[in-house]
């Protein structure tokens, strides 16, 4: 169990969902993330760039049928950061339940 730690890079709505999806799988394709989040290519690229710069995701391009497909996965640092962020959210959500 990770120590609770709020992470502003992860917390933005789009990035929170990206990390949520990537935490459930080993890797996901760019188009799958885009369709799940219902955002444009450019918006997703921007989110991924920020996560990549923070060292939370790794992006790789694989050739397929003459085209390139982009696959994304959470790095170990990303998994740790996301787990800590979820722990913090859970702690905060629990505060309300504790109030009589």
């Amino acid at each position: 169990m990770s120590a609770p730690a709020f992470d502003p890079v992860i917390h933005a709505p789009g990035r929170l969902q990206i990390c949520g999806i990537l935490s459930a799988v080993d890797e996901a394709e760019f188009a799958t993330l885009r369709d799940s989040l219902k955002v444009s290519d450019s918006v997703l690229s921007k989110h991924l760039k920020q996560l990549e710069e923070a060292g939370y995701v790794a992006v790789r391009k694989l050739p397929h049928a003459g085209r390139q497909r982009t696959w994304v996965n959470l790095t170990p640092a990303g998994r740790k950061g996301f787990a800590a962020h979820v722990a913090e959210l859970t702690r905060l959500a629990g505060l309300a339940a504790a109030v009589p």
Binding site: F6, H11, P13, L16, Q17, I18, C19, G20, I21, S23, A24, V25, D26, E27, A28, E29, A31, T32, S36, L37, H64, V86, E88, L89, T90, L92, A93, G94, L95, A96
Partner: protein, 148 residues
């Protein structure tokens, strides 16, 4: 951020995102049948003479690579059976059963009991299909309970 209501909303968004991965995914019956056949070949192939044993092993590994490739292309994501914290125990149990079946198959070959692969291969076929469906069920539950 210190607002518990916002934290709950964020947790709900995470849960929804995680559950959206398998979604309503219904993979075809042929996927199960081919996966079962590959596992049957991996197990039963150990009981037949060379070079057929090695050829069966190569064909089975090629088939395994092929269906993984198909799955990734079809669904746009991949998760190894050993990655999810809870569902991985189903995968470990399946490996243990397969190893036991392979050991029995080897023993059958060593003792000259020709029909052993005819028993262990169908057993591997059934274990593969039941195990993969069980794994998917455990994994879905694991995703649903995450961030709750």
């Amino acid at each position: 951020m210190t607002d518990p209501a916002e934290a709950r909303e964020a947790l709900a968004a995470i849960r929804q995102a995680r559950e959206s991965v398998p979604g309503e995914m219904k993979y075809p019956v042929w996927y199960d049948l081919i996966y079962g056949a590959i596992c049957a070949a991996l197990v039963g192939g150990q009981g037949i003479p060379q070079p057929w044993s090695s050829l069966t092993l190569a064909a089975a590994l090629g088939g395994l690579f092929g269906i993984i490739h198909w799955f990734r292309r079809r669904y746009g994501w991949w998760v190894s059976g050993y990655s999810p914290k809870r569902a991985r125990w189903v995968a470990f149990a399946m490996v243990a059963v397969f190893l036991a079946l392979i050991a029995v198959t080897f023993a059958g070959r060593d003792f000259g009991v020709w029909w052993v692969p005819l028993a262990t291969a169908p057993a591997a076929f059934v274990v593969a299909i039941v195990g993969s469906r069980l794994w998917m069920r455990v994994w879905r539950r694991e995703l649903a309970e995450a961030a709750r």
